[in-house]
Symmetry: C2
Subunit: 362 residues, 2 copies
């Protein structure tokens, strides 16, 4: 871990700095390196404190806290999900996160995570597909062409070499936006008129729609043998994208079962339906894909450890790039037991005199 002096000052990565960081590292490199850190942390999965995220639901959406710790570092993310936000020009999902030192409890990084979450979600999907999709997979259907779609495309290209995209969205302007954004980046792109058309011949199917209702984006007859399904959009209670019959035909891989059973596609199945933990596949403890006709499904909901990995990766880039500000977030009295004295000294400094009573300066 890079050593940044003045531990009471917390490095802060703003949205602007995050964009510059991604661009200075290069998006492909950033996604590949981030994927490596995520793999590293998945391989030591058992070392982490794990808990389903703590959600505060309202009629309009949800606000969640996602903490985890590996015993040396502690991380958490704040993230909201408000499907109606786009109507008022706001993001459906925004996020920020903090990484701290378990030994003294001091935050070591505060970072925007709206962009970073998009990147870690895409990197995690691609890492899962590396273990689960057929090796020669080059074409991917992306159903739902909103804010996450281009990141998925870029991660699958950077990490797996996927370069043929078949896009579909109920709003065709979203597909056009996605196509335009990915222009000149080495993809062959087909915009499709239906989800059925999009999945034709695709090696991988990514579903990443945003509705907060049980929807059926994919029906059973649309999924052929050998396909890997990367189900990203269903991520809270009542929000699913796949028909239940697909789940019954698939081998299902998840991040953290207690959370996925609440939030993922498998909320449609009995609590004891067999699923495989992705980290166990990575660690070589269990098989991922056995054969060319098997349907594999990564039921992704996003887990705290991925955010921890992302914060850890971002922090490792700070010293070299300098792309952060210093935030005066933690009180730093000269004598730790003298927090009140710090106020008195601030008062004296403001008054330009050493001993005025506090109430009288302003």
């Amino acid at each position: 871990m890079t050593n940044i002096p003045n531990l009471n000052i917390v490095p802060f990565v703003s949205v602007d700095h995050m964009m510059k960081l991604v661009l200075s590292v290069g998006l492909d490199t950033f996604l590949r390196e981030l994927a490596d850190v995520i793999e590293e942390d998945f391989l030591r999965w058992e070392k982490f404190d794990k808990t389903p995220r703590i959600a505060s639901h309202s009629e309009e959406g949800v606000i969640e806290l996602m903490p985890t710790s590996d015993g040396a570092l502690y991380g958490f993310k704040y993230v909201n999900g408000h499907p109606k936000n786009t109507k008022n020009g706001r993001q459906t999902v925004t996020a920020f996160g903090v990484l701290s030192d378990v030994g003294n409890g001091y935050p070591m990084l505060l970072s925007e995570m709206t962009i970073l979450t998009a990147l870690r979600t895409a990197a995690t999907s691609a890492v899962a597909a590396k273990y689960l999709a057929r090796e020669e997979s080059r074409s991917m259907a992306i159903i739902g062409n909103g804010a996450q779609s281009e990141f998925q495309a870029r991660a699958f290209k950077a990490i797996l070499g996927v370069n043929q995209l078949r896009l579909y969205d109920i709003d065709s302007s979203a597909s056009l936006k996605c196509q335009k954004n990915l222009e000149g980046q080495g993809f062959s792109i087909t915009i499709c008129k239906s989800a059925e058309e999009a999945v034709e011949g695709a090696d991988i199917i990514t579903t990443v729609t945003a509705d907060k209702q049980c929807a059926t984006i994919l029906t059973d007859n649309m999924v052929g043998p050998g396909v890997h399904i990367n189900a990203v959009g269903g991520d809270c209670p009542g929000k699913t994208e796949l028909h239940r019959d697909i789940l019954l035909r698939s081998d299902i891989f998840v991040e953290y079962p207690p959370q996925t059973r609440i939030e993922g596609e498998i909320q449609q199945l009995p609590q004891d339906h067999a699923v495989t933990e992705l980290w166990q596949v990575m660690a070589g403890l269990v098989y991922g894909r056995n054969n060319e006709r098997q349907i594999t499904l990564f039921d992704s909901v996003g887990f705290a450890i991925e955010d921890f990995s992302a914060l850890r990766y971002v922090r490792s880039k700070l010293a070299a790039t300098g792309l952060y500000e210093e935030l005066d977030l933690l009180a730093d009295p000269d004598e730790p037991r003298d927090l009140y004295g710090m106020l008195l000294r601030c008062e004296a400094a403001m008054a330009g005199a050493p001993s005025l009573p506090m109430e009288k300066i302003l």
Copy 2:
């Protein structure tokens, strides 16, 4: 709630701004107004989502998240507790917090809360004593003269008129620091050689020590009739300050029973030992103090709603004082579904050209 434009920009109150805010409002006024907001929120206690804080324990200490919501606003605090921190010049407790709009999930305030927690803890203690201590209480013993002690003294003076202090700490330099810091602020102060001496004749006994072990700061014979005990220091599993016999002789008042049973003095008692919720006393639903000989005990551990009140109060002061910075914490694409396009535009701006491939600029 004050309207601050640019909802993607989050107002940030640094340590420096918090000190200036407290000093510009005036510490007494700040404590009184904060106490009023805390009372306001305790009076609508049933409207809040409540949960015991989410703790991540390690050998060195604890990191906690404390979320709550009243349905319109959501707040959470990050707080650590690391007793050994002072050895390395760090605070035992540091904190920061966020207030958000439940309707869209966007943060509306990020604030330091190390100083603010000290203020809200003291204000809450004083509010509790207003309902529980004898009316003519003017003298208070403070056992434990660390970072919280002066704030307790100032809050009890501002809100209840307590002006006689009897200080004791196992480290006499802490008592001297406390005395010096409170000089010229209208207190009559006695430094005592023992806890026994400190409690002699005190109307109120405040215990606010910092050890993370079961300690016995007060024994049964030290507590006379009519006293109000403000037990602040015991606030996590295994950390208590009072002998069990005192608890058995007292009427015990708590913030949120499920959390206090884990963290408070009452962790020494059976889970079904009767306690009274403070908000019910405030609301006039149950009695606080019945008679002049009753021993009342506020078993304070600090609850999320107090932090929520504190964040709400701080935010109400921002527009008038301007004591905040603007933090670029939330991504704000022109089109909410076009997060990736925001990256592309940043790239173009950095390159001074509109269409370079992302990897090639730097």
